[in-house]
């Protein structure tokens, strides 16, 4: 427990976030307050423009709220310096994006190692990356470039990249949004297996409720606030 926040939950307290777009200012989150439990696969659902992705990026320290507070397992993000926030993302947060966001000039295994490139890659770390790719069924695709992989395979590389650091928190922004249903199901299977293996908390933003299983935590957002009846 730090500053009243729970070390077993992600605490979002009265968070407001707006940003500028072509049409003017968009108020993405309007005083949102919620808690996300540790160690679960949590889904943030809601209509387009409801503020789901904005919340996700705030949880990962990619963005900062205009006001309000976010504490990830007891650690207040607003108290972190820029350097500490970088370190928080590097060590404790894994991101999975809808459009994979792999680097086109790197092989699958090098893409998995991207977070650690500035520090240099040890043989042990490279082996861990190879093992992770093997676990997600890409043991024979290690040296393939993203353009040589299918959408599902690219997303599995992105999952391996997110999990190599054994993060506390894995954040997925529509990770199956560009995949067919079979590939989507496979991605969730891998996510659940790796979450079980590593004990990470996985938070996924999605439109597609078909992958939600009993025991998963669901947070429904509408118009920048929590929809009544959540939990």
């Amino acid at each position: 427990m730090v500053d009243g926040s729970d070390s077993n939950t992600i605490d979002v307290t009265n968070v407001v976030k707006s940003y500028r777009s072509g049409l003017g200012e968009v108020r993405a989150l309007r005083g949102l307050t919620c808690q996300i439990p540790r160690g679960k696969l949590s889904f943030i659902v809601g209509p387009s423009g409801s503020g789901k992705s904005s919340l996700l990026y705030l949880l990962g320290g990619l963005d900062q709220p205009d006001s309000g507070e976010i504490a990830v397992f007891g650690r207040r993000l607003s108290s972190l310096s820029k350097r500490e926030r970088d370190e928080f993302r590097r060590r404790q947060v894994g991101f999975i994006f809808q459009n994979f966001n792999l680097l086109g000039n790197l092989s699958a295994v090098d893409n998995v190692l991207v977070p650690f490139l500035p520090q240099g890659i040890s043989a042990k770390l490279r082996q861990e990356a190879v093992d992770l790719l093997t676990q997600v069924g890409l043991g024979n695709r290690l040296d393939h470039r993203p353009n040589q992989l299918s959408g599902g395979e690219q997303q599995r590389v992105a999952i391996a990249r997110a999990l190599l650091k054994r993060p506390l928190l894995v954040l997925g922004d529509e990770p199956t949004g560009e995949l067919d249903s079979n590939s989507g199901a496979e991605i969730y299977r891998h996510l659940r297996e790796l979450r079980d293996a590593q004990g990470s908390t996985v938070v996924v933003v999605t439109h597609d409720r078909s992958h939600i299983q009993p025991g998963d935590f669901v947070l429904t957002i509408r118009d920048g606030g929590l929809e009544v009846g959540n939990g």
Partner: protein, 430 residues
């Protein structure tokens, strides 16, 4: 990180190649331009480097051609301890060679006192004879000459034929080849003939080349020469009356005439009355290093011009790299967002782009230095008698380092822009 930066560059081959081309041209231009000045220095070094002696000229004269000294001083100098030979030299321009104006390259008439020349242990031209023989004391009073291979080639003359210079037919008895732009322009003649062609009296030489004996260094010789002329005004063209009396020897007649000479000199306001300035002497003594410095001073304006020309090329290359890196950063905004989302700090993104621009700078520097070096050799081969470019190892290394610094500086602004961008802003903009 380095290999990642390299992969990033290689994954955009066209953009990288264009940036490298821009830098290569600029650095090659820099090497080429500065090789002009270095070529002059190199020519001076190779020309004068082997001469063991020193040259005496009129103070401030950039070259012997513009210098005038009294012939009589040669006798004074010859009496100094440590002097092996004093070689009197007269220089003049050849205006018409074979009926054509000799303007570029210029041709010079080099008049040598052939008796003194015979006594020189080392003579640049004598060492470089490729056909025939050098002039000797038997050639005094004749119109025989020694010319360079370049002059022979230019005018289609061979050994034994005549070369017509300023209305005089000169018989070619020898051909030399020094491979020096400064030396290969000379037509060597008896000193009396050059005086006649250049309308110089017998009492005047352009310079003295003083060769020390084997036990005397050129530094010691220089000191003795300066001491000899110390206290003599630059305006004084003759020795003082006491020096003249001393030079005349100690015969009874000289002793009788000496008091009269002193009185006459005093009445005429001779050299003794010219008050000497302590640090001024009527000759300039130049050794090997002095020639280099003299030419360096002469080429200072050339260096300035070359620096301006180079800076124009470098500025264009600099803007080219800035543009390339800015375009590259703009194209890759989402990539930097991804890197930051994965924990890369702004400093690490900065380092990545810095590496990329440094690799470009290094690559451009290496290619530019190689291209510039090859170009200087190609130009030298094409115009062997007209120009000598020299790209020294130092110039090549400085160009390479300069290119690296240029690359890093040019990449700095785009890198700062990328580093400051918030990850979400980068991803959204991407």
């Amino acid at each position: 990180m380095f290999s990642f930066a390299l992969k990033n560059l290689l994954s955009r081959p066209l953009r990288t190649a264009l940036a490298l081309c821009g830098l290569t041209v600029a650095i090659a231009g820099m090497v080429g331009l500065f090789s002009v000045a270095e070529g002059i220095q190199d020519t001076v070094r190779t020309t004068f480097g082997k001469m063991p002696g020193v040259t005496l000229l009129q103070p401030g004269a950039p070259l012997p051609l513009f210098s005038r000294l009294p012939t009589a001083w040669g006798e004074e100098i010859a009496k100094l301890p440590g002097v092996h030979v004093v070689h009197s030299e007269v220089w003049s321009r050849a205006h018409l060679v074979e009926g054509k104006p000799a303007i570029s390259p210029p041709r010079f008439l080099f008049g040598s006192d052939l008796v003194q020349a015979d006594q020189l242990r080392y003579s640049v031209y004598r060492e470089k004879m490729v056909q025939g023989r050098s002039l000797n004391s038997n050639d005094r009073g004749t119109q025989r000459c020694v010319i360079s291979q370049a002059i022979a080639d230019e005018y289609g003359r061979v050994l034994g034929e005549n070369l017509r210079v300023d209305g005089h037919d000169l018989e070619i008895v020898g051909i030399y080849k020094c491979d020096s732009l400064f030396l290969d322009v000379s037509i060597i003649l008896d000193i009396a003939l050059v005086r006649k062609l250049g309308h110089l009296g017998e009492d005047t030489v352009c310079n003295f080349y003083v060769e020390p004996d084997l036990d005397t260094s050129s530094e010691v010789l220089t000191t003795r020469l300066k001491d000899l002329f110390a206290g003599r005004s630059p305006g004084a063209w003759q020795p003082t009356i006491e020096q003249a009396i001393d030079l005349a020897g100690d015969s009874p007649m000289v002793k009788q005439l000496a008091p009269l000479a002193r009185m006459a000199a005093a009445a005429a306001g001779g050299n003794e009355e010219v008050s000497p300035v302590a640090d001024e002497i009527p000759v300039e003594v130049r050794g090997n290093e002095d020639w280099s410095q003299q030419v360096h001073q002469l080429s200072a304006d050339l260096d300035l011009f070359l620096a301006i020309m180079t800076s124009i090329g470098v500025t264009i290359a600099f803007m080219g790299i800035v543009n390339t890196m800015l375009m590259s950063v703009s194209e890759r905004i989402i990539e930097f967002g991804i890197l930051k989302a994965n924990g890369w700090s702004g400093a690490e993104v900065l380092r990545l782009i810095g590496f990329e621009s440094a690799i470009l700078g290094f690559g451009g520097g290496v290619l530019g230095s190689i291209v510039g070096w090859i170009a200087t050799h190609a130009i030298n081969a094409q115009f062997p008698t007209r120009i000598h470019l020299y790209a020294s190892p130092k110039l090549l290394v400085v160009s390479l380092l300069f290119s690296c610094v240029l690359g890093i500086l040019a990449g700095l602004y785009p890198a700062l822009r990328a580093a400051r961008m918030a990850p979400m802003e980068a991803i959204r903009r991407g």
